[in-house]
């Protein structure tokens, strides 16, 4: 279980996150919704260790992980796919995927993991030796997710995977994300501006505005709540 308690994160003099607490049950999918600048990305960056929090604590599976660095968190099974299709354009597809497993001592496992990801994303398999900057937007997103999967995470943090992608591709991405949770049991925290899409595959929804949680609860209930619908879902 992921447990966040009274998290406070500052950007200079501004509190980007001002006291957030929530829990995500193991093996479930939580969608974090909010408009631009609400603090969603900051939340993920703090969870994955890229940013230090000022106050508050975070636990994963009973162990406290507050303030741990990303490199160490990866070894604990936490992978973060940062916003903007986080791949390294100058490296090939295969190299990008391999990044996720370099930290492991056992190199044969690395080859195995890459194979698994390729099975999941066949399009990547076709382009293994191409440079990542020759890929389309959707393919890059798959590559980024693929790299995170190579690390064999138990908790996956996804930052706006649908951003800038065509609707058909977005559907595929959401379907894949949902599958990763349902079939592989990976706990997922999905940050999205595409509220409808995210909530429809999630178990739990967390709505953030200006650094605080405005509402949280069962995803289906949130979708059906008329007040929230008009505020955040646009209808």
């Amino acid at each position: 279980m992921l447990k966040v308690e009274r998290l406070v994160v500052e950007h200079g003099a501004i509190r980007a996150i001002d006291g957030i607490s929530f829990e995500v049950a193991t093996g479930s999918l939580a969608a974090v919704i909010g408009s631009n600048g609400a603090g969603k990305t900051t939340l993920l960056r703090t969870l994955s260790g890229l940013k230090e929090s000022k106050l508050g604590k975070v636990w994963w599976n009973g162990r406290e992980i507050t303030g741990m660095k990303p490199e160490d968190l990866v070894r604990r099974g936490i992978s973060h796919v940062s916003e903007g299709k986080s791949v390294i354009p100058e490296l090939t597809v295969k190299e990008n995927l391999a990044l996720g497993g370099l930290w492991r001592a056992n190199k044969s496992e690395l080859a195995e993991s890459i194979e698994e990801v390729v099975t999941l994303f066949p399009r990547l398999g076709e382009r293994m030796s191409q440079r990542a900057d020759t890929l389309s937007g959707g393919e890059r997103q798959m590559l980024a997710i693929g790299r995170a999967l190579v690390s064999k995470p138990s908790l996956l943090l996804l930052d706006e995977p649908s951003l800038g992608l065509a609707p058909l591709v977005v559907e595929q991405i959401f379907a894949t994300v949902s599958m990763l949770c349902r079939e592989r049991g990976i706990t997922i925290v999905l940050v999205e501006q595409n509220a409808m899409g995210a909530l429809s595959i999630a178990d739990k929804g967390i709505i953030i505005n200006l650094g605080v949680i405005v509402a949280q609860g069962d995803a289906k209930e949130l979708i059906d709540d008329p007040a929230l619908r008009s505020a955040y879902l646009g209808y």
Partner: protein, 352 residues
């Protein structure tokens, strides 16, 4: 629901600050006048060496000031300001030797020639930053003096020297040549520092600062960052040229007078002064002149070996440079400021 911390709560107390930055200039003027009087009163009981060093301090302070303008304000780094000094010195020497105009004209020529070369370099450099600029100015510093060996009229290795004539008779016989040098250098430095101060406070200075911290935003607001960078380089080079001309006045103008270590020394002085603090230039100049002195004393006590004499000043300067950058990155004045701020914060926190 956004909470802003009251980090700047103490800001109100500082509203009266603007008056303060006129004071360092005033203080400096008094300092110089007092020093001058003191020297005059002591007459020939003051070691000529100290007067000479006084002139040197002024010259270094001026050179440091020029670098502060460039690096501290427009954020461009120059490892080669010694080259601009050399250009100014050679220009002054050539003018004085060939045309013998009034001294002030010679200096003006030096400033203009150096400023022109600054404009040339700045024009090319405006698209460079960081290490590219550093490397280019480094190459300039190393390469320019060797040009003197190429062309005979530049005097080759032995160099040129020029004469500024003797001090006017009305100052009396006690007023030696070095005192004359000191007054010229000191006056020139004061005037230029005052000019620099005003430039930095003008909209050019503010534009430079904006361009330095956020060039993208600055250009969006319509500030032509590139052109202003060139302007900064031009002015900075001109001032350095004056410092070089003054140096040429009291010493000889040759390639060996402007080695790479001169450029480094000025950079060290600028960092020590605090990259944006003009008030620190005098301190910077002082330190630069004192170091060789100290080094000599130390090496004398250590048995006076040639290796020590040659290398100790460089060692001290370089160590100082590294320490200054790490410990007081924005100058001792800023560091002191931070220290006081931190203390104040602790007090306030306790009060809660």
């Amino acid at each position: 629901m956004l909470k802003r911390k009251s980090k700047h709560g103490g800001e109100h107390a500082k509203a009266t600050k603007p008056a303060n930055h006129r004071n360092p200039i005033r203080r400096r003027i008094f300092f110089f006048i007092a020093l001058g009087w003191f020297l005059l009163l002591l007459g020939d009981r003051v070691d000529e060496l100290r007067v000479y060093q006084g002139a040197l301090i002024a010259i270094y302070a001026l050179a440091i000031g020029s670098l502060i303008l460039l690096t501290g304000y427009s954020g461009q780094i120059s490892l080669g300001h010694g080259a601009f000094m050399a250009i100014g010195a050679y220009a002054a020497a050539l003018t004085q030797i060939n045309f013998a105009p009034p001294l002030i004209v010679t200096f003006i020529v030096a400033v203009l020639v150096a400023a022109l070369s600054g404009a040339l370099l700045g024009g090319g450099a405006s698209r460079l930053s960081g290490p590219y600029l550093a490397g280019t100015t480094l190459a300039l510093a190393l390469g320019l003096p060797t040009l003197a060996n190429q062309f005979a009229f530049l005097g080759g290795e032995t160099g040129l020297s020029f004469d500024v004539g003797f001090p006017p008779e009305r100052f009396g016989l006690d007023f030696t040549l070095y005192k004359w040098f000191f007054w010229i250098a000191g006056l020139a430095t004061l005037i230029m520092l005052w000019v620099i101060q005003n430039i930095l406070k003008s909209r050019y200075g503010r534009a430079w600062k904006a361009g330095r911290s956020n060039p993208a935003a600055a250009s969006l607001v319509g500030l032509n960052v590139g052109r202003r960078k060139v302007l900064a380089f031009t002015v900075s080079a001109g001032v350095a040229g004056l410092a070089g001309a003054l140096l040429g006045m009291i010493a000889i103008v040759s390639p060996s007078a402007f080695p790479l270590s001169l450029s480094f020394a000025i950079l060290t002085g600028a960092v020590l002064a605090g990259l944006t603090s003009l008030a620190g230039t005098i301190i910077g100049g002082l330190v630069l002149v004192i170091i060789p002195d100290i080094a000599e004393t130390i090496s004398y006590n250590l048995g006076d070996s040639e290796a020590v004499v040659a290398n100790l000043p460089g060692l001290i300067t370089s160590v100082l440079l590294i320490l200054a950058v790490i410990l007081t990155p924005n100058g001792p004045a800023e560091q002191w400021h931070h220290h006081k701020e931190a203390k104040k914060k602790k007090e306030l926190a306790k009060g809660h």
